[in-house]
Amino acid sequence: MSYSENLLTVKNLSVHYPSRSGWFWQKKEPKRAVNDISFTVSRGKTVGLVGESGSGKSTTGKAIIKLSPLTSGQIFYQEKEIGKLDGAAFQPWRKKIQMIFQDPYNSLNPRSDVLGILSEPLEIHFPSMTNAERTERCVDLLKSVKLPADYLRRYPHEFSGGQRQRIGIARALAVQPELIICDEPVSALDVSVQAEVVNLLQDLQEQLGLTYLFIAHDLAVVEHVSDEILVMSQGKIVETGNPTSVLTNPQHPYTQKLLSAVPRF
């Protein structure tokens, strides 16, 4: 029995997207993206979320920060139920919970340079910071994701895919969150930069006690970072367990299929 604190508890979460397509006389079936899933994430730990493309991983991550509609179920941050809080009441949790988005292209404001992108959350959540302090913080953030300081004045379209992904990571780290929902955070990085960023996330976890929900398709990376793994298929969690046992002795047919498809060389 462990006494670690549950930082995030998701209970019976369902997310159904309302149907839009079809004519009004046709029966509108909502898209059942996530169906009655429950899991917890302990403070200072990493839960890896893997699974089929389209199985509801990003939807689950977004539901936690109110970017996808919570159809039913509850989301607790520590003891507090945050699933039904409205905009203003949710504000304090916006700082505590950050998300690294799967699509680094659409998640960065194209009209803002990197300084602007990284400063914005700082202005909201640390209003007393001076301009100089903010700039200094932004330079440190860039360095931590292995980008040079002079990139502060560049715009998103001037970056490569992996450089943009790292700006998304820097932005999530900017406000010193407690929980980061990492949705494919390193998929656009070469293996050497990927290793540096993964190590950085682990260092921050050790130093500051950060907690991660880590969504990724690269099973070796998920195995490496996770304390526990959840496997999703068709809106449901089909298997959970510690990474080594799930990945060496998979029980569910989907997990077995997944492992047999890993390219070996």
Partner: protein
């Protein structure tokens, strides 16, 4: 026997200038792709892989923002010297792209089905039952419910479904050269494997050539005939896939291969490159 080069790029240099800054993104690289050949490009993030692929059909900003030097011979014609009208006949038809950025090829205001239909029409303007072709192409990329997905807008699809829609669009054009820039990053390994198998089949059936940009060495090992490794705008190593993967000559390639995380190898920290190798 080397196949006849379909694409032959010589001394390609790409320089961006904006706000008084210049970035030498690509520094005089040369490479070629033969008919039916799969050439993989791997390497550092920001090393110029995507921009060199985009430069082939003038998909980069025009001068003075971006300056391109060198020659790009496509089936014997220099693409640098032909008119925009002539290039339109090649772009999307003979050379099709799966872009790294879904936003570049998927238009947010049109449904997926409409966008694939447009791509099909470019290739086969006289086709009658275009819907059937659209559904089939979505089915080919393992989209479960093609009729439904065809009616959806890009933002209503998961990351991996968007990626597959782009693959379907590019393949619908029946190109001679497919430029696939990180085509499977948002796919789980089962679908990734099936997509690679699909590309393998098309390459056989259609003699399609593929320029594959990827960070995934597993895919390179199983799919590419040759591989070239880029770092800081240069090609540091190139050769047959098995040779490069098993006996990498350049320290950067060796270092990169050592950084690949592998299943069942739980360590406290992942291996990174030393500063010395990085520069």
């Amino acid at each position: 026997m080397p196949s006849e080069p379909l694409l032959n790029v010589e001394n390609l240099s790409i320089t961006f200038s904006s706000h008084g800054r210049t970035t030498k993104a690509v520094k005089s690289i040369s490479f070629s792709v033969g008919t039916g050949e799969v050439l993989a490009v791997v390497g550092e993030s920001g090393s110029g892989k995507s921009v060199s692929a985009l430069s082939l059909t003038r998909l980069l900003p025009s001068p003075p923002l971006c300056d391109i030097q060198g020659s790009i011979l496509w089936r014997g014609r220099d693409l640098q010297k032909i008119t925009e009208d002539q290039l339109t006949q090649i772009r999307g038809k003979e050379i099709a792209y799966i872009f790294q950025d879904p936003g570049t090829s998927l238009n947010p205001v049109y449904t997926i089905g409409y966008q694939i239909a447009e791509a099909v029409k470019i290739h086969e303007p006289t086709i009658k039952d275009i819907d059937a072709v659209v559904y089939q192409s979505l089915h080919d990329v393992l989209i479960d419910n093609p009729h439904k997905v065809a009616q959806q807008y890009p933002h209503e699809l998961s990351g991996g479904m968007q990626q597959r829609a782009m693959i379907a669009m590019a393949l619908a054009c029946n190109p001679k050269l497919l430029v696939a820039d990180e085509p499977t990053t948002a796919l789980d390994v089962t679908i990734q494997k099936e997509i690679i198998d699909l590309l393998k089949r098309l390459r056989q059936q259609r003699k399609m050539s593929i320029l594959l940009i990827t960070h995934n060495f597993g895919i390179v090992a199983h799919f590419a005939d040759r591989v070239q490794v880029m770092r800081q705008g240069e090609i540091v190593e190139s050769g047959e896939t098995t040779t490069v993967m098993q006996n990498p000559a350049h320290p950067y390639t060796r270092g990169l291969i050592a950084c690949i995380p592998r299943l069942g190898q739980r360590r406290r920290r992942l291996t990174t490159l030393s500063e010395e190798i990085k520069n």
